[in-house]
């Protein structure tokens, strides 16, 4: 019967399709499983997630993201800026350097003698130089001053180093921006779905709250606690909202005036921080330029003076949040708003401190009272190569940040834990072990990353240091988490916090744009060192290069830059 044969053939075809799709799915699943081995730290992060919850896991995957980002920034800067320099230094591939002496510049501006270690010096001077970025380190490819050439000739090709330097800077900024946006968009859509129906949040939490994939009893305990905390928080907030809605006019007046008063205190504290950072930076810059290199004592004092801005900033970053979390208890907000506002204030303190530091550095460099910078446009006596100086300052900040992150657990949390486990004194038991504070840790690494972004223009190898630093920090934090800290009493939900971390990171990046933009476009580049000697400012490379293009290309580029085109382009 032909119909029967037809149906048999059809079902055989369907059967084949089904078995092949099943085996394809299986193969894809196995490939996915294998590829998880290739991702950095996948296994570690998974085990952290299982034991400590998704809030803490989001911190560690954020850390991993920063390691990768810094590594790629380092690759960009290295391959476009440092590699041609090194190739030409050693004459590989038949390469030579083109060195054009600056024209129309007074001789005074071009004097730059980095005091490298000449002759016999004590061994500790190398150590001191390592920490302060001066001495022998100043002349290496770590800092801007090394790249004092105009072009590299590789066989017959001319490699325009100044243009490459500037474009690489723009490239890494753009890459960071796009990558962060891409990651936050993924998180944002998740967030949207999560809060899709606020009318159903209770049902969602109760009926779908339990994650059936949990197999570890510790993780189960954690999940129980976090569910309990979430439900209690939501109920508390609802009660508080009802209470707020029933406030009388007199109470409202009292609370608003109290809030205004506390905000004024907060602003006053911030201004105090900023002013002290400014004074300390000015002091440190003035004092460290007069250094006697042979006296041990003045050398160590000198090192201390050089690290003074970093110390003050770290102190402000530490004290600020403590004061803010104390003050906010008086302001009578709902718990979630309290947490967010304190976090916002801490973020502001940390990022604004960096801004004030940059501002005070610039005020020193462009300090043009009493004709100090007439010939060159900047304070050439104190700062013959000011970009290297700024790079050194960023380098010192990064090193000090790293030291603090290493030292605080070692000298504060670890002894605290030893005390708690071995001494049964009531007071110490009440004090307890250190909790793993996610938000503090995240702000710490965002602060470090902002320094890296600002500093990479002045010190092209800084991302490499940042990569190594974050790599080591991962293992340190993991060790602290597992052995030293007790789990947080208030578990945080991952989806909201992921988006928040990326948003703050984006704020840090945009903050980094400002000093960089200012120093590239407004402050005259140093005439004594660096690839931008022959230009007024670093930005001038681009208009100059465009003027060398054929006229047709110029027209196109000017058309693109004109407003009619650029605005819609950026909108999209």
């Amino acid at each position: 019967d032909s119909q029967q044969a037809d149906t048999e053939r059809l079902s055989r075809w369907k059967k084949w399709r089904r078995t092949s799709s099943k085996s394809l799915k299986k193969a894809l699943g196995e490939v996915k499983g294998l590829s998880s081995y290739l991702v950095l730290w996948q296994h570690d992060i998974h085990s952290i997630e299982g034991k400590f919850g998704t809030g803490i896991q989001s911190y560690f995957s954020f850390l991993r993201f920063l390691v990768l980002l810094n590594f790629i920034i380092f690759i960009i800067m290295f391959s476009f800026v440092t590699l041609p320099m090194i190739v030409s230094e050693y004459g590989l591939f038949n390469s030579t350097i083109a060195y054009i002496s600056p024209r129309n510049i007074e001789d005074n501006c071009t004097i730059y003698e980095p005091s490298g270690n000449k002759g016999l010096v004590y061994y500790y001077t190398y150590l001191k130089d390592l920490f302060s970025g001066t001495g022998f380190l100043e002349m290496t490819s770590l800092f801007y001053g090394y790249y004092t050439i105009d072009a590299v000739w590789i066989s017959i090709m001319r490699y325009n180093l100044p243009l490459a330097y500037l474009l690489a800077t723009f490239a890494y900024l753009a890459l960071s921006f796009l990558w962060i946006i891409k990651r936050s968009v993924e998180g944002f859509t998740q967030n949207l779905v999560h809060d899709a129906d606020p009318f159903q949040s209770y049902c969602n939490k109760v009926f779908a709250g339990w994650d059936f994939c949990i197999t570890d009893p510790n993780a189960a305990r954690l999940k129980h606690r976090s569910l309990q905390y979430e439900l209690q928080m939501d109920l508390q907030e609802e009660k508080l909202k009802q209470k707020i809605a029933q406030r009388t006019m007199k109470e409202k007046l009292r609370i608003y005036s109290l809030r205004i008063f506390i905000n004024i205190i907060v602003v006053a504290i911030l201004l105090g921080c900023f002013y002290s950072i400014y004074r300390v930076t000015v002091f440190s810059q003035e004092k460290s330029t007069v250094s006697i290199r042979n006296d041990t004592r003045t050398d160590s004092v000198n090192l201390l003076v050089q690290y003074l801005p970093s110390m003050v900033i770290t102190l402000a970053n530490f004290i600020g949040p403590l004061i803010f979390s104390f003050l906010i208890t008086f302001e009578d907000y709902t718990p979630t708003f309290e947490i967010r506002l304190t976090l916002m204030r801490c973020v502001f303190v940390r990022l604004a401190n960096i801004g004030v530091l940059m501002f005070s550095l610039w005020s020193q460099i462009s300090d043009c009272g009493t004709d100090k910078c007439k010939p060159c446009g900047y304070n050439y006596k104190l700062y013959p190569c000011w970009e290297s100086d700024v790079g050194q300052e960023m380098y010192k900040l990064m090193i000090f940040d790293f030291i603090v992150i290493l030292a605080v657990p070692l000298f504060m949390d670890f002894p605290r834990k030893l005390l708690v486990t071995h001494c049964s004194c009531k007071l110490i038991q009440w004090f307890g072990q250190q909790e793993f504070q996610i938000s503090d840790n995240v702000l710490e690494i965002i602060y470090g990353q902002t320094i890296c972004w600002i500093g990479t223009f002045f010190s092209p190898l800084l991302p490499a240091i940042a990569t190594v630093k974050y790599f080591i920090i991962f293992y340190i934090k993991k060790f602290i988490l597992i052995h030293v800290c007790k789990p947080a009493a208030r578990p945080i939900r991952a989806s909201g916090s992921n988006f928040f971390f990326l948003a703050v990171l984006l704020i840090g990046l945009i903050l980094a744009f400002v000093p960089l933009g200012f120093s590239i476009a407004r402050i005259p580049s140093s005439k004594a060192c660096g690839p931008f000697r022959n230009f007024n400012t670093s930005w001038e490379v681009i208009p100059d290069t465009i003027l060398e293009f054929p006229t047709a290309v110029q027209q196109i580029l000017f058309g693109m830059a004109s407003e009619a085109f650029a605005v819609p382009f950026f909108m999209i």
């Binding site: 999560h194 049902c203 969602n204 109760v206 569910l227 309990q228 439900l231």
Partner: protein, 161 residues
């Protein structure tokens, strides 16, 4: 799946695993169920034993795995979830069921329970959100309606396999 089922049986009965029934205590040693607060309800719902002791045959085991797998539809999952949450087996989720459900979620032990005022408020909110006919209980249709709009249910209602 058959391998996992037979591992749960004591050695002597392994050959006749197709027809054997695994007692509840052994089922609860499965890693997926060990940490699950609804373990007893799950065993009870999927077990077809007449004595009501919660023991499961191989078919019951397969049923359980298929409902919890990724390829089960939302309908199937929500149907079984309703039965699991229905602690007194009366076909609706009333206040007592909800109370027991919340207690299961927040964990065992005295300090992990919500206070009675909080529990009242929570149950009130849940009923407000899901009880459409306002009869004070949630029946299967209302439950499925609520769950279909919940973004978390599809993600977390599955065993990892």
């Amino acid at each position: 799946a058959y391998k996992r089922f037979s591992e749960l049986l004591p050695k002597e009965e392994r050959e006749s695993a197709c027809s054997a029934r695994v007692p509840k205590s052994h089922i609860l040693t499965l890693p997926e169920l060990r940490a699950n607060p609804f373990q007893h309800r799950i065993c009870h719902v999927f077990s077809t034993s007449e004595t009501g002791d919660g023991s499961m045959s191989f078919e019951d085991f397969l049923d359980m795995l298929s409902v919890f797998s990724d390829s089960a539809t939302l309908d199937v999952k929500s149907h079984y979830a309703f039965r699991i949450f229905d602690f007194d087996n009366d076909g609706t989720l009333d206040r007592k069921d909800l109370e027991q459900l919340v207690n299961c979620l927040t964990g065992h032990g005295e300090e992990s329970r919500l206070s009675s005022a909080e529990m009242e408020q929570l149950i009130q909110n849940i009923l407000e959100e899901s009880d459409i006919d306002k009869d004070g209980t949630i029946n299967l249709a209302e439950f499925q309606h609520v769950v279909s709009r919940s973004p978390d249910f599809a993600r977390c209602g599955g065993l990892q396999r």
